[in-house]
């Protein structure tokens, strides 16, 4: 007899999918993909216990299961709620969800510095994507934004606490990936912050991965050369023979220069599995020390279709880059919290026109052409 696993049917925004028992609503939605997938700012599939905190992934459960079709009274965090057979979920088809999510995004932004023009994460920031889709035209918050004392985390990692959304991903990463944690969440409530208490540098061999998990620009790479805007760089897949990790990385290059090294990411912005099927966390040596092209074997341009408003342009992928913002947004009217067009240079240059590596020379030429 074949061991047929019983699958659960779940319907999300009128699309039905079959998943294994124990799957969360979010992961079921990811199986469908596209717009029905709720945004997730704190959940990270490779980090145990993550999720539940940011509340961006709230969805409405219109029917609990075939056996008990009653709706759930409250919206639920899709990243931490498992599906039942016959469950009916509403995400973008629910006004309640849209309303609540707009609220959550507004809450995340009231104390955010909105310093995208000078932030290294700009272009690959999940909060930026989210505010693009859910933000309001103008902030209703008229009070002074929260500030924090500066903390130095050592030679590799830069902390900008004002940008942090307290997703706890970096805390779980230190516990679970680097197995040594020197930083944590200190204080409570709206004073809570990521810090080490007394200044300590984070230099565990695998601690650099906190940079990859951080959904915003709170933790960035201090060794990122030239502090370039990511959209001026082209990501390529590369590998090396590393004795600490798989050595499978993504290089962010300009011409022949390696500006930055990161782990490879999947379409949800999470670290991808390696070719051997293990989580693709990379070591500090690969990330911070190997900045010469001769350190690496280049495999070719990264193949990713990330669900991101701005960064789509520079991936070579299944999806052709869209020309206009409106198209990327699938016809939805983007409500801008701030005008990213104005503050970033990205739209002065049509990224999809760049063939080959994006060098500053190419940019200069294209800009002139505009």
């Amino acid at each position: 007899m074949s061991e047929q696993k019983q699958l659960f049917k779940v319907t999300i925004d009128n699309i039905t999918v079959e998943v294994e028992p124990g799957t969360t609503i979010l992961n079921a939605a990811r199986k469908i993909g596209g717009d029905v997938t709720p945004p997730a700012m704190c959940y990270y599939s490779k980090l145990k216990d993550s999720g539940g905190k940011c509340r961006t992934c709230l969805v409405e459960v219109a029917a609990g299961s075939t056996a008990d079709p009653r709706p759930m009274p409250k919206l639920v965090a899709s990243c931490r709620t498992t599906v039942m057979d016959g469950m009916v979920v509403k995400n973008i088809t629910s006004d309640r969800v849209t309303d609540a999510r707009n609220g959550v995004v507004e809450f995340l932004l009231i104390n955010h510095p909105l310093d995208c023009p000078i932030c290294d994460q700009a272009g690959e920031c999940h909060l930026q994507d989210l505010s693009y889709e859910h933000g309001k035209g103008a902030s209703r918050y008229e009070f002074k934004r929260r500030t924090f004392d500066k903390h130095d985390l050592g030679p590799y990692i830069q902390l900008h606490m004002t940008r942090c959304i307290l997703c706890y991903r970096c805390v779980y990463t230190a516990d679970q990936v680097s197995k040594e944690r020197r930083h944590g969440v200190l204080s409570r409530g709206d004073h809570a912050e990521i810090a080490t208490y007394i200044e300590k540098s984070l230099d565990n061999d695998f601690i650099g991965n906190v940079i990859d998990v951080c959904p915003v620009g709170a933790l960035t790479d201090k060794t990122f050369r030239f502090k370039n805007r990511v959209w001026f760089t082209k990501p390529v897949d590369a590998h090396c023979n590393c004795d600490k990790c798989s050595g499978e990385v993504q290089l962010w290059m300009r011409g022949d220069e390696v500006l930055r090294v990161t782990a490879r990411k999947d379409e949800w912005g999470e670290v991808k599995d390696t070719t051997k099927g293990e989580p693709g966390w990379i070591c500090n040596t690969c990330r911070f020390e190997r900045k010469k092209i001769s350190d690496w074997v280049i495999e070719g341009p990264s193949q990713v279709s990330r669900h991101s408003v701005i960064s789509q342009g520079h991936y070579v992928g299944m999806k052709k880059p869209n020309e206009t913002v409106a198209k990327v947004m699938g016809g939805r009217d983007p409500k801008l919290l701030m005008n990213i067009k104005d503050v970033s240079e990205v739209n002065q240059v049509e990224l999809s026109e760049i063939k080959g590596p994006a060098t500053s020379q190419v940019f200069k030429q294209l800009k002139k052409g505009n």
Binding site: R181, R182, H183, G184, V185, L186, S187, R188, T196, Y197, I198
Partner: protein, 162 residues
């Protein structure tokens, strides 16, 4: 920082409240005890020592010590007035008590007198709302506060210092 034999016995007794291997549960009581033994506040050194005693990492101690409002992470005055200011106490005049302490000692919430004798803090509901206005003074509560009672507490604080 190092505890004496006698102090270590106390620590051991605290740890005995939990099953084998769950000594981390003693963290909160042990931080109270350490603060009390360390002049009313928790220095980084004291917290590192606590981590060592419980075989946990320092960051686990810092995370907890900064979460709870009863731990002082800075040195405090010899006498700390912690006046409750939440709704029910406000209804019974807690604002006047804070103002009166300012009048007498010249300190506002969060400040310490220059001689280091008194610190004034405002705190949230302490579960004595029926006996308002009130304050916490060390391990005790002082309830039904009046100006006269504040005068007496200030005198008491000064006497204690001599």
């Amino acid at each position: 920082m190092k505890f004496s034999e006698e102090q270590l016995k106390k620590v051991e007794e605290m740890i005995s409240h939990y099953p084998e291997g769950k000594q981390k549960s003693a963290l909160i009581p042990l931080l109270h005890y350490t603060q009390q033994q360390n002049g009313g506040w928790l220095s980084a050194e004291a917290m590192d020592y606590v981590a060592e005693l419980l075989k946990i990492t320092s960051i686990e101690v810092y995370e907890v010590a900064t979460f709870y409002s009863m731990y002082n992470l800075q040195p405090v005055g010899k006498t700390v007035f912690e006046v409750c200011q939440t709704g029910p106490c406000m209804l019974r005049g807690s604002d006047d008590i804070v103002a009166y302490i300012y009048e007498k000692l010249g300190i506002k919430p969060g400040q310490t007198t220059e001689d280091g004798l008194f610190t004034l803090k405002t705190v949230e509901c302490l579960g004595a709302c029926g006996y308002a206005p009130m304050m916490q003074l060390g391990p005790d509560y002082r309830e039904h506060l009046t100006k006269e009672k504040i005068d007496a507490l200030i005198a008491e604080g000064k006497a204690k210092a001599n």
